[in-house]
């Protein structure tokens, strides 16, 4: 069925609005601070085949490969066999999922008995069991990282709300009152999305909605192809590296070869490091997501709606057994770190083709801090991720203290932490002057958070990166500063904390964690006097650092 272009304009916006509403309601009805304050979740509408049609713009990483997460579910139970109240669920890293905490739920939408599509949501759950609360950086296989929910079909009425699946999950997790609440927020978001699509069906007819979905994919594909064809044809290479594998000190190389041919792009990660023993392995769905996000961010205007159509011109490959396409059962919890390097390598490759459309490399790291305590049989788990400085661009400084481009988590307000947790207190939260790389345009500054520990027997798990390998500047810009973390013990002793580790903390200890800045863009000597003046006035660049630049 051919849709009238005006119907298309009207109805596709309706689908996007529905997905956006799902996202808002997912966050607003959630329970854990990681979902309700940090907004580590996403939502989308899919067509009957599992193609993402419209999404709430929350976390790029989670949204990119929704279709790949859906597909294994549909292979287990074909969509045509689904009934009202059924849902697909999947968090399995080697079957289309990413890392275990991100649980994907797909709810079929039926209109008068016809399957119209799926509403989907994903949330990062605070704790899904495994070898340690919140995260287990010592895990040597995926089984130690938490409960695996393979691609499956369950039914709300039968299996949830006190049903056997809900009981199984509840029994395997440490903070069920929050986590089950977050699952319910996902189901609610899906229900809202379903309701909105049904209203559109009632208004315009099922056939029209199905056609609009189809041509909306074609629309994004058309716009993406137009954007890609503006990039000069050629083969471009870019590299970056993960600091280390958490055991040794050698960096892990990530290499991207980007081939632009007409309106197609292929990204190949051959030459990247092999998979590793600890949790820095990046499941292939995550690798695809990172590459898509990089190409979309560089090549196209932010206005192009992200959906499966946009992914059509982009092919991503990575050797099986490499860090970016690992074999089971390796652990994958910190997959964002290699994913970010894959993003950085693709942007660096594209910088050679379209220097005006890129930014210098940013801190681009999920700097993750998890603190937990068991008191009287109850766990209290705090998890938050910190970004740093963005890379500078050809016309603007990098943004200070913001989450990295693949993610988009908010910070958790200190006042919310004060309400929720009594075993630590945040005593400083600040930007780090001079941490952004100098350049004609300055890299964004990293940030600092200081925690005072208020009781004994606290576990802190941490993973981060860029403790050794700094983000590079572009076109003469200088690199951003590294990240670092240290503990000042109650007795005054100071200990450096590694970028991938877990430690014990006691009352009186103070943890000071600093994230890195972004790289600068262009020669620092070309920085305008107005900007130099503003740097000094704000104090974000200190006088000695400013002099060094001259």
């Amino acid at each position: 069925m051919n849709v009238d272009p005006i119907d298309q304009a009207v109805i596709s916006q309706g689908l996007i609005a529905s997905a956006r509403e799902m996202g808002v309601k997912l966050i607003r009805s959630a329970y854990s601070t990681i979902l309700r304050e940090a907004s580590d979740g996403s939502a989308a509408l899919l067509d009957r085949k599992g193609n993402v049609v419209a999404q709430a713009e929350l976390i790029p990483m989670q949204l990119g490969p929704l279709g790949a997460t859906f597909k294994p579910c549909a292979e287990i139970v074909p969509p045509d066999d689904l009934e009202e109240g059924d849902f697909y669920i999947n968090n399995s890293p080697f079957e289309g999922g990413q890392h275990l905490p991100d649980v994907f739920i797909f709810s079929p939408i039926f209109y008068e008995g016809t399957l119209v599509g799926f509403s989907a949501s994903v949330a990062h759950h605070l704790d899904l069991g495994g070898g340690a609360p919140g995260m287990n950086p010592d895990a040597t296989d995926v089984h130690q990282e938490g409960i695996i929910i393979p691609p499956s079909r369950y039914n709300m009425q039968r299996d949830w709300n006190g049903g056997s699946f809900e009981r199984l999950i509840t029994a395997n997790i440490r903070v069920p009152e929050l986590t089950i609440g977050d699952f319910n927020a996902q189901f609610a978001a899906n229900a809202i999305g379903g309701e909105r699509v049904k209203q559109l069906c009632a208004r315009y007819g099922v056939e029209t909605i199905l056609s609009v979905m189809e041509s909306h994919l074609a629309y994004s594909e058309r716009r993406m192809r137009a954007a890609i064809s503006e990039i000069p044809d050629g083969v471009y290479e870019g590299e970056d590296a993960v600091d280390d594998d958490g055991i040794h000190t050698e960096p892990l190389l990530i290499k991207a070869t980007v081939t632009v041919a007409g309106d197609d792009i292929s990204v190949d990660f051959t030459g990247s490091a092999s998979q590793v023993l600890l949790n820095l392995n990046c499941p292939f769905a995550s690798t695809v997501s990172a590459a898509l996000a990089a190409v979309k961010a560089v090549a196209s205007s932010p206005d192009i709606p992200f959906n499966q159509g946009l992914a059509a011109p982009i092919t991503v490959t990575a050797p099986y057994g490499s860090l970016l396409n690992p074999k089971p059962p390796v652990p994958v919890r910190a997959r964002m770190i290699p994913a970010f390097r894959a993003f950085d390598a693709v942007v660096k490759a594209l910088a050679k083709a379209v220097p005006d459309k890129v930014i210098a490399t940013g801190f681009d790291t999920t700097h993750s801090i998890c603190m937990s305590q068991l008191v009287d049989g109850n766990y209290s788990i705090y998890l938050e991720i910190y970004g740093g400085g963005y890379g500078a661009g050809p016309g603007s400084d990098g943004t200070d203290g913001v989450d990295g481009p693949l993610s988009n988590c908010s910070n958790i307000p200190v006042e919310s932490l004060d309400q929720q947790y009594n075993f630590f207190r945040v005593t400083e939260y600040a930007l780090r002057p001079d941490s952004g790389g100098r350049g004609k345009f300055r890299g964004g500054n990293g940030l600092l958070r200081k925690f005072e520990i208020l009781s004994d027997d606290v576990t802190m798990a941490h993973y981060s990166d860029r403790y050794r390998v700094a983000p590079e500047g572009a076109f003469g810009g200088e690199p951003g500063d590294h990240a670092r973390t240290r503990v000042v013990r109650m007795n005054g002793n100071e200990e450096a904390v590694a970028s991938k580790t877990s430690i014990k903390l006691n009352r009186g200890d103070v943890v000071i964690s600093e994230t890195g800045g972004g790289g600068g863009y262009g020669d620092p000597s070309e920085r305008s006097t107005d900007r130099l003046h503003d740097d000094l006035e704000s104090g974000l660049v200190t006088p000695p650092a400013a002099q060094a630049a001259e």
């Binding site: 272009p5 790029p60 629309y219 932010p302 989450d403 939260y429 104090g539």
Partner: protein, 671 residues
């Protein structure tokens, strides 16, 4: 006589009502000195100040001070360790794929932020007490230069215990009596430090601007011998005597749109419509608001310039859709309307001021739903040929004739408005079909019926003199203030006794505050509990009237909350999850006295003729007339175009209309 004066960006509107007689005036605004526009509107209406007993004023002074960054230089005091609160913000990005993303810019510079050693916890207990000596050093060093116009203070957890903020505020007020001091607990008592700090700094930023503006106006009124009531409109839909506004300037933000909503509420209410959705469509944007039982919803989650504002304002959704919105096609071939606008200058192509881009107004002209001779009472002529020229390349691209193209663009514009209404209705769990649509603003009545059709709304009510509805809303607004109090209570046992007690105390305090402003009669109270399931972070308002508060018990409270939660989120079960009250909001209001209706004032010559329009693929004959020619009791059937001084009302085929005894034009879908 009661007079409302609304200073807008382009025009200053005045409505005066004297024993049922309505006078309106419209004069150009003087953006640099808005008070001059206000006074000249009085002159234009030939009103003597000694005739007035009640003067209400609304302006965009606060909004413009922020948008144009012309507020005071603010010194900001924060808890030690949190100097970068305003720059760190929430660490997220509004556009996730934008590599060049920049955060919204705070109104206080980093170099004007000072740390004070103190710390209070979430339960209000003191961890680090405020050392007045060292605080005094910091204050002296910061303020001694005398180059700050205002001071803002926001300490962590002050929503739970404002003692430290108050101590520091008192210290500064004693030492520097000429500086305006605002501390966060005075402005809002909600948790989340970034949002509260920004609201506080915004308030401090506009405070001196508002104060000097009000003083100047007051002086000029004094000089002219005016001694009676003078009040200012707030964004919560109520007004306050000037003394009340000076303490809390941020509440005057967005007072213009709020006044429009209150005018619509009052005018539609007179005809018995109390569940309404307002549609205020002007040149560049459209504001929509949902009103239940005569009361607009409040929101504490607005923003300005990307900066959050957490004081209660009328819950208005705004989109970039207006008469000047540009019609364009994106690089994927999709037809789009807005959010970019041609603005007032050059404006739509048909204005003939050099604009070549097609705008919504051009589409109306080409389609025939605007008639050049009837536009703004015939005071401005429109160039049909220029509209056609502007639309021609789009028409070619979509292989349509010009009229089809114009029609298509207006459908897309209508769809944008429909989505804005869904934001305040379906998304909040309200069914738009239970409401009537009340359009105003220059372009609202042109689009309203098609928008209503799309939402299956059966009735549209167009108020008279819609062009000065905001100024009327000033007169119609109650005196109103809100107080909030954050206090966590689990809903169990005898919690309803606590609720009654807390509201009782709040009522006493609110009555005292009103008494200081000279307001003691006919006080009315609203009680709102912000509630959530334990563990959630966003609350849902549950409003209780006097009777409900008296009869309140745990079961009723749970039932009311779960119902409200279901309405928005479609799930939730109090049997499985505990429920808590997070904060209390008390509204106290006093009526301004009886308000007569805004009956039609006709400045336009009556006419009635035939015209042609193109709509939904068909060209049809259409009645074209002035509103003044449509006497009460006369029933018209669509298609019809009814022009008044400020706008054109479009009644499509399948709808009919007539004026009621209050001069509201009631448009209904044919049975």
């Amino acid at each position: 006589m009661r007079v409302g004066i609304e200073v807008g960006g382009t025009f200053t509107d005045l409505v005066a009502i004297d024993q049922g007689k309505v006078t309106v005036a419209k004069v150009p605004s003087t953006p640099a000195r808005p008070d001059e526009g206000a006074l000249s509107s009085l002159d234009a209406a030939q009103i003597q100040l000694d005739q007035i007993e009640d003067l209400v004023h609304g302006s965009t002074v606060a909004t413009n001070a922020i948008l144009e960054r012309k507020g005071a230089k603010v010194a900001f005091f924060v808890t030690s360790g949190f100097r970068d609160l305003l720059l760190l913000q929430r660490h997220d990005r509004k556009r996730i794929y934008d590599l060049f993303y920049q955060k919204p810019q705070p109104v206080v510079a980093r170099s004007d932020t000072f740390e004070i050693n103190e710390r209070i916890t979430a339960d209000g207990s003191v961890v680090t007490s405020l050392d007045m000596n060292s605080a005094q050093h910091v204050v002296e060093a910061a303020l001694a230069g005398g180059n700050y116009g205002a001071v803002a203070i926001c300490f962590l957890n002050s929503y739970a215990n404002p003692a430290h903020e108050e101590q520091l505020a008192n210290l500064i007020r004693e030492r520097f009596p000429d500086v305006f001091v605002t501390h966060s607990a005075e402005v809002t008592r909600e948790f989340r430090e970034y949002e509260r700090a920004t609201t506080t700094t915004l308030s401090a930023y506009v405070q001196p601007v508002i104060d000097s503006y009000i003083s100047r106006l007051q002086d000029e009124l004094d000089a002219r011998g005016y001694r009676r009531n003078f009040s200012i409109m707030q964004s919560n839909g109520g007004r306050l005597p000037t003394e009340g506004i000076r303490r809390n300037a941020i509440t005057s933000l967005y007072s213009g749109p709020a006044a429009g909503v209150m005018g619509a509420v009052r005018q539609a209410g007179i005809s018995g419509f109390t569940d309404i959705i307002t549609l205020d469509m002007g040149g560049t944007s459209t504001d929509v608001c949902l009103i239940r039982d005569g009361r607009p919803d409040l929101s504490t989650e607005t923003e300005i310039n990307g900066l959050p504002v957490r004081t209660p304002v009328i819950d208005i959704a705004t989109i970039g859709a207006g008469g000047g919105s540009i019609i364009w096609v994106d690089d994927g071939g999709m037809l789009r309307v807005g959010p970019e606008s041609t603005g007032a200058d050059p404006g739509p192509a048909c204005y003939g001021r050099g604009g070549i881009l097609p705008a919504v107004t051009d589409a109306h002209l080409v389609r025939g739903t605007l008639k050049s001779e009837a536009f703004v009472g015939g005071r401005m002529s429109l160039d049909h040929a220029k509209s056609e020229a502007a639309l021609s390349s789009l028409a070619e691209r979509f292989d349509m004739n010009l009229e089809q193209m114009a029609d298509a663009a207006l459908r897309v514009a209508d769809a944008n408005i429909v989505r804005a209404i869904q934001l305040v209705s379906t998304e909040r769990g309200r069914d738009p079909r239970d409401y009537v649509l009340v359009p105003f603003g220059g372009a609202g009545p042109l689009h309203a019926v098609r928008v209503a059709e799309e939402l299956e709304i059966g009735t549209v009510v167009v108020p008279p003199n819609a062009g000065v509805l905001s100024a009327f809303g000033l007169l119609a607004a109650d005196f109103l203030r809100y107080d909030s109090f954050t206090h966590h209570l689990i809903v169990e046992g005898t919690v309803s006794d606590d609720v009654r007690e807390i509201f009782g105390t709040m009522r006493e305090r609110a009555a005292q505050a009103f008494a200081q402003l000279g307001l003691t009669e006919d006080l009315d109270y609203t009680h709102t509990l912000e509630m959530r399931f334990v563990g959630q972070a966003f609350e849902i308002p549950v409003t209780l009237d006097d009777a409900a508060l008296r009869e309140l018990n745990t079961d009723i409270l749970l039932e009311r909350f779960v119902e409200a939660h279901h309405q928005i989120f479609a799930f939730g079960d109090a049997g499985r999850q505990r429920v808590e009250i997070v904060s209390f909001r008390l509204g106290v209001s006093a009526p301004p006295g009886p308000i007569p209706t805004l009956s039609e004032v006709h400045g336009m010559e009556a006419f009635e003729t035939d015209g042609e329009i193109f709509d939904r693929g068909d060209k049809t004959q259409c009645l074209v007339m002035s509103r003044s020619a449509c006497e009460r009791g006369r029933k018209l059937t669509g298609p019809a175009l009814i022009a008044d001084e400020t706008s054109t009302i479009y009644v499509p085929q399948g709808w009919h209309c007539s004026h009621d005894e209050h001069d509201n034009l009631i448009i209904r879908k044919d049975a």
